[in-house]
Structure formats: C-alpha cells, structure tokens
C-alpha cells in the first residue's frame, strides 16, 4: 500500500473496518523469479520408435473408440501400420514408462489393430496436393525404405516412381517375410492404398546403371536392400539341398518351396534363420537350428524365437558347421549329414562380443537332408558402377540420407545402421522429407530439429494412475502349427481400447486440471482448451510442475 493510495483512502475510511476491495492489486508473482511453463514433451515410446510415431497422441482416441482418428495420426507417421504392427520389433515398448510401474503398454498390438481395421474399413490416406514438379523422383526398391520415401514425397506433392526388379512390390516384406508372419493380402492392401495416393510401381524393371535414369528424374533414392548372400565357407556347400536363407524363403514365399527331404539344419541366428526354420516346419520337416553363439547373443527377436520353439524348432547354441557330407544312400549329390563342432566364448571381437572359438575335439555329426545358411545378407549395388563412398561395406550417407553422389539419397539395409523394417521405413520417410524440403529450396539446417530424450519415468507422477495388466491378444498358435495361418492374433476392439487407456500420454497435456486445482494462488487458468499461467500471481511454488501427471510442466525463469 503506497502512501499515495493511503491518502486517497483516508478521506473515505468507513466507520467500521469493513474491507470491500479485492486483493487483485497484489501481484504475488513479484515474490518469485520462477513460474511454471507448459511444454508438450516427447513421450519415450516416440523417441524409441525409429519412425517417431506419436504413440501417446492416438492412444486416448483408441481408448475412446475413435479409431479412424487414431489411425490417421498413426498413418501420418507410418503408412504401413498393418505391416509394422506385425514385423516391427516395437522398440517403442522398451521406452514405455509403464515398465517402471507395472507392465509396458502393448503398443504394437494396438498399432496392428488399427492397421487391420483401416484395411477392413477401407480408410484412405490423405489425398496429396497436386504434383509439384514436372519430373518424378526415382526410387530403387519397393521395400519399406523405398515405400517410406515414396510416401513422404507423395505427401509433399512430388511424383514418384519405384523401380522393383521383382514382379510384385514389397521388397523384403514380399520375398523375405513368410506368409504366416505377414499375410500377403494385408501387405497388398497397404501397398495398393499407397498406389491410390499416386505411388507408381514399375515392377520387373531392374536398373542396371543408375545413370540411365538419373538424368530424367529430379532425384534418386536408393533402397535396394540387402539381398546378397554371404559365402558359407564350409566344404560341401555346393551339394544339392544346401541353400542360402533368403533364396530359400523367396522360393517358399513364392509358393514353390524347395524339397526339404524331411530334415532341415538351419545355420545362423538372425531373423531370417528363424523364418527359414518356421517355414521348414510348415513344410513338414524336422528342424534343427545351429547358432555359433549363445542364446542371449542371438540377433533374432526373442518373441520370434519363442514362437519358433513353440512350433517345434529345436535350437542348438554354440555350435557351428565344419563340413557337409553327401547322402551315402542316394546319388551322392544330396546332403546327407553335417559335421558340427561345439564353440566356446573367446576374447571379444571388434563388435565387443565374445568371439566364438571351436572346442577342440568336440566335433559331431548330425543327419540332414537340407542345410540352409542364414548367416546374413549384404547389399549389392552394381548399378552404381563403382560410384559412391562406402562405409563398412555399405553406402555412406550423411544425416540427411545423401550419398556422396549429388542428388542421390539412400536408406534402408544398404546404408549402415540397424536392419529392421521400421528403421528402413524411417530412413525412407526421413530421406523423402529431406528430399522434398530440399527440392523446395529449404536450407537443410531447418531440418535439424533434434528430438529430446523423451520424458523420463521420474517425471511421470505415478500417483495419478491406476495399475492394470498389459493386455495381449489371444494366441492362435494351437490351431495348426504346420499350417500357414497367421501365428498370432490381432487385439479385439474392446481389448485395444482398454489397452490404449493404459497409455500415460507422457509429455502431453490432457487438460486434466491437476495444475488448476492445486494452484494455491489461482495463477493458472483455463484458456482455449489449455492453460495459461498468470505469472503476475504465480509465487513459483512449483506444485503444478511437481504434481503434473505427465511431465508437461517445468519451472523456468520468468525473464526467459
């Protein structure tokens, strides 16, 4: 109360000490130098996801039964949710803060549910703007990387043409992933949906020399994947019945499987080896899988391993082939047995893992009619004719997906980094967006927006949530282990909604009013569906930031 105020009041002081003026003159905000700031932050699931799918943006929609809106959000970041819901290793769930509470959210099951629902209902991707350029961007390969790039470019209005050497699109999804993991009709549905927004497939067209097309297009994106097989390096590998994993799967997926001879030995520990093993089981064979390292070191996803085990695949760890012998009872050209040797862990190799070392004198022989080497694939890029800088046997790219060749970008399995469907898709989408942006003459620095680490679990106020078990779809394994029916089920609608309700919405303000209710100074008020802080009254106590269930509020200096 200033003395000036006082003089004004003195004249009119009431007889009785009745206060009739309010306290709004008293800007208690002057007492503090900090005030709450609302900032939507990235949920850790989205950070973990190579595609940065904003998982927590659509979970509440699923929970409310607003599936189409949810799918639209999902599809904006990922045009193949039905595919990735099945074959992606859902690292998103490794980021889920519910792990520190009860169990992680079943994100991929909901993703798959939305993907399948979209196909069933015939939901379409948004119609892209009219073509923004006279010439298309050429994409080599119609696998996830190529599709991602095409999608991003189409959304930006650029025409694209995908060159696919196989007769149908899908790349590794089509040739490498078996039907029982990825039903072809669903893959086809998602591909044709992309066609309907203008993605042009040129199947059966193998590009022999990149220069033959680069002059006619605005840019090139290389996404030809890793389809080359590694040399087995084992005597007897030229016998009939010895195959490379991807070839074996291509034949299987193409409906003309190789004759297994009833007994298959699979060599390797990656996902291809598992697919080979499971496909072989479906062909009625006894299947043994031999891997030279321990189970824990196996690159294959544990879920698939479990499924394969459930289907009767026998796993043998720390075992490697030494030689393949012909079948002495037959014509001498067909595999009859394999000699294997036990391995033990040696000194660490360059990858940091223990190098497998043979145990002397531990060799043994097993019967086999078929041996499949699934020991990794490598990219082939003969079409570059020697151009392009390499990095560890793969094409070197910068942060924007650019190769050393001007105007040529690359992504997916032909560049260094993780080999997975979602990483490839993410590479493609990122490169596509970068290409679109650069095509519009945006400076690349505008694309440098870094993602933060995501809201850590300690910023989630568990006190505002109720524990609930993670919901899994009913399994259909029991049906027919030998059949080609899909091995796992999709969540039912109610289950999907319920499971989506478990999402914390990390870093997203859901207008829950906790801050509003607890503010001792009424410094927080609602404004157009969100909140504003009346810093002139905020004393900086920080209760709002402490209590915020989702880590949206942080206290920052007022002068900021």
């Amino acid at each position: 109360m200033s003395s000036r105020q006082d003089k004004n009041k003195r004249q009119s002081l009431p007889e009785v000490s009745a206060s009739t003026s309010d306290m709004s003159w008293n800007h208690t905000g002057d007492w503090s130098f900090i005030a709450p700031v609302y900032a939507s932050r990235t949920a850790p699931c989205a950070v973990k996801c190579p595609l940065r799918v904003p998982v927590n943006d659509y979970m509440h929609l699923v929970n409310e039964g607003r599936h189409r809106e949810a799918w639209q959000i999902l599809a904006a970041a990922n045009p193949l949710p039905s595919v990735t819901g099945r074959v992606c290793y859902h690292d998103c769930e490794n980021g889920c803060n519910r792990a520190g509470f009860d169990e992680t959210l079943n994100i991929h099951a909901i993703e798959r549910f939305l993907g399948d629902t979209a196909i069933e209902k015939g939901w379409e991707l948004p119609v892209p703007p009219a073509d923004a350029a006279p010439a298309p961007v050429a994409i080599l390969g119609s696998g996830p990387a190529g599709l991602g790039c095409a999608y991003a470019l189409r959304l930006a209005g650029y025409p694209v043409e995908i060159f696919e050497r196989e007769t149908s699109p899908g790349g590794m999804l089509m040739v490498g992933v078996p039907e029982f993991r990825m039903p072809r009709k669903l893959l086809a549905a998602e591909l044709t949906r992309l066609e309907r927004i203008g993605v042009r497939f040129r199947c059966g067209e193998k590009v022999e020399d990149i220069k033959s097309i680069s002059q006619q297009v605005m840019g090139v994106f290389l996404a030809s994947g890793a389809h080359g097989s590694r040399d087995a390096g084992v005597a007897g590998a030229d016998l009939e019945g010895v195959h490379f994993g991807l070839d074996y799967l291509k034949a299987y997926n193409g409906g003309k499987p190789h004759d297994t001879g009833g007994r298959v030995a699979v060599i390797g520990g990656g996902n291809t080896s598992i697919d080979v093993a499971r496909a072989s089981r479906r062909l009625g064979a006894e299947v043994d899988l031999y891997y030279r390292r321990t189970e824990a070191e196996m690159p294959a996803h544990p879920e698939e391993l479990e499924e394969a085990r459930a289907e009767g695949v026998r796993f043998h760890f720390q075992v490697a082939p030494e030689e393949i012998f012909a079948d002495s009872d037959g014509n001498g050209r067909r595999v009859g047995s394999v000699r294997l040797i036990r391995m033990e862990q040696g000194e660490p190799d360059e990858s940091g893992r223990a190098r497998p070392v043979p145990v002397a004198g531990s060799g043994f022989e097993v019967e086999a009619a078929t041996v499949v080497f699934a020991i990794g694939e490598q990219p082939e890029f003969d079409y570059l004719r020697g151009d392009g800088a390499l990095n560890g046997g793969r094409l070197a790219v910068d942060a924007f997906g650019r190769t050393s060749i001007p105007g040529v970008f690359a992504g997916g399995d032909i560049v260094p980094g993780e080999n997975s469907v979602s990483h490839a898709l993410a590479d493609g989408i990122a490169a596509g967006r970068n290409m679109a942006a650069m095509l519009r003459s945006f400076g690349p620095e505008n694309l440098k927006k870094a993602l933060d680490e995501g809201v850590p679990a300690e910023k989630i106020n568990f006190d505002y949530f109720t524990k609930a078990p993670r919901i899994e779809p009913a399994t259909s394994l029991k049906a027919n282990p030998a059949g080609t029916d899909e091995a796992s089920a999709t969540l039912a609608d109610a289950a999907a909604r319920e499971e989506a309700g478990r999402c914390f919405s990390c870093g997203t303000c859901t207008d829950c009013d906790v801050c509003l209710v607890f503010c001792p100074d009424l410094a927080i008020r609602r404004s157009e569906g969100s909140y504003v802080v009346r810093t002139e009254y905020c004393k900086g106590c920080g209760i709002c930031a402490e209590e915020c269930p989702r880590g949206v509020i942080s206290m920052e200096r007022k002068d900021k």
Partner: protein, 299 residues
Amino acid sequence: MQTTDYTKNKDLKTESFGCGNLACPGCGETIAMRGVLNALDGDAVIVIPACCGSIIDGLFPFSKARVPVLHTPFATAASTAAGVLHGLRRRGNKHTTVVAWAGDGGTYDIGLQALSSTVERNEDFLYICYDNEAYMNTGIQRSSSTPLLAWTTTTPEGDLKKAPKKNIIDIMSAHRIPYSAAATVAYPDDLVAKVRRAKSTPGSKFVNILAPCPTGWKSKPSLSVKISRLAVRSNVYPLYEVFDGERLVLRDNPDPVPVGKYMELQGRFHGLSEQEVELVQRHVDHAWEQLRKRADEII
C-alpha cells in the same frame, strides 16, 4: 487417484477466492480454502479467528475473499460462527453455510472449549480446521496437533515434541455430532465430497484438513501436495468419516508406504534416528490398526 472435475467449466472469475493472497508459496491453507469454497458454490460466510488465514486473506482495505468474512479473536471461531448462524437465520437466510475456519491452534488448543460447546449444542454450521500442525502464523510454535518428534521453535533440537498429535476427530465424534471427517488437500475430490456431505447434513459438522506448511514443516513448496498425499499413503493421516459419532467409514490404504517416506521430505523431522522413525512407525501402525478395527465400512 483420479483427478477432480469440480472446477470444470468454472471460470476463474466465478470462484469465491480471488488472486493476490498473502500466503507463503506452496501454502496448503489456500488450496484447502479454495476447495471448500468451491464445494460450497460460494454460498458461505467465513468466520476466521487468529491464524494464518487472518493474514492470507489480505490487509484492510483488501480481501481475496468474495464471500463475507468475519475476523474474530483467537478462541472464538465456533462461538462467533454460532452467533452469525443465528443472526443469518433470523434474518431469513436459510441457505448460506456458516463456516468457522481455524488453524490447529485455534481448534485443538485455545478454541477447543468454544468448539466443544458449539457442537454439543449441535449448531447447524461447518467447522473447518486447516491443520498445519503448529502455530505457523506466530513462527512455528508447537500446538497439541504437532506430531510426535517434530521440531518446532518451542520443541527445539534436544527437546522434540514428546506427545503424539491429539486426535481431534475422536474428540468431535465423542460429541456425537452428525458428521466429522478427516481430509487433506492432495485428495480434492474427497475433500469436496466431504464438504458437500457436510453442507447437506443438518447440525454441527467438523472437517479437519491436513494442510502442509512449507515454512513450518521445512519442506519444498512444490511438495505440499505430495507430502499431503504421502501422509495418507503412509497412514500417518488416514482419511475417514464418522457419522453421528458412531458409524466410521475409512478409506483403505492397502499398500502403505513407510512413514520415513513421508518424514524425509520435511525438515522438521530431519536428524531423527532410525529408532525414532521406527517409534513413529509403531505409533502410526497401531493407530491404523485401531482405526480399521473400529471401522464399520472400509472403502
């Protein structure tokens, strides 16, 4: 815990509690006052004896309140409220809730006699004790609500409070008043429900609201709500209601946290030995068991 909807669709201007209060940052009293006034839809007269509330509201000629407030001497919250009640009713007002709004000093100590008498007569009013467990307005002196082994300026190091906190709900329910309840600021839905239940119950109602005081508890202002919640989660401060002095309804706490989790956030308990914390734990466990035995309903 589900978040509350009691302020939904309510514009700030219609709240009975304006901006600019003089409370310390993170004050539990103001959160409690806001919740109570909203629960009463602003149809209240507040009688405030000497307490933090006499300052928080504002100095003449200002007041943050948008309902009538009558400041009154320390021991008289209940008796003045009774007078206001009779006056209002005689003047034809049958709806406004008369609220006595006192701290623990004015309730557990100096005002207890008047409170006892007023509720014994079953005057139709609502007595709210915002309980910050010491004389905070005068600078943190112990009251009979101060918990066992707490530091205050009159229970300093070496002479921490030896007596456990007085159980005011027991005292009130021994008067067989229609409604007495324990609430706290961390559970606004519970608080609002209790106040609304009180409003719709004729006769004397008593609600004790544990209201953390960062200044006196030596805690971070941002933790006031969390500490209030931990008081409940640790069974230090169970939430319960007693109807007609008989029927006890207890809010269950199936997975209690150790009292140490509650105490460690408050400087007034710093320096206690493990044995001392264990002693407090035993007191709390015993009281909780007794309460569960007495409860007619556990929700």
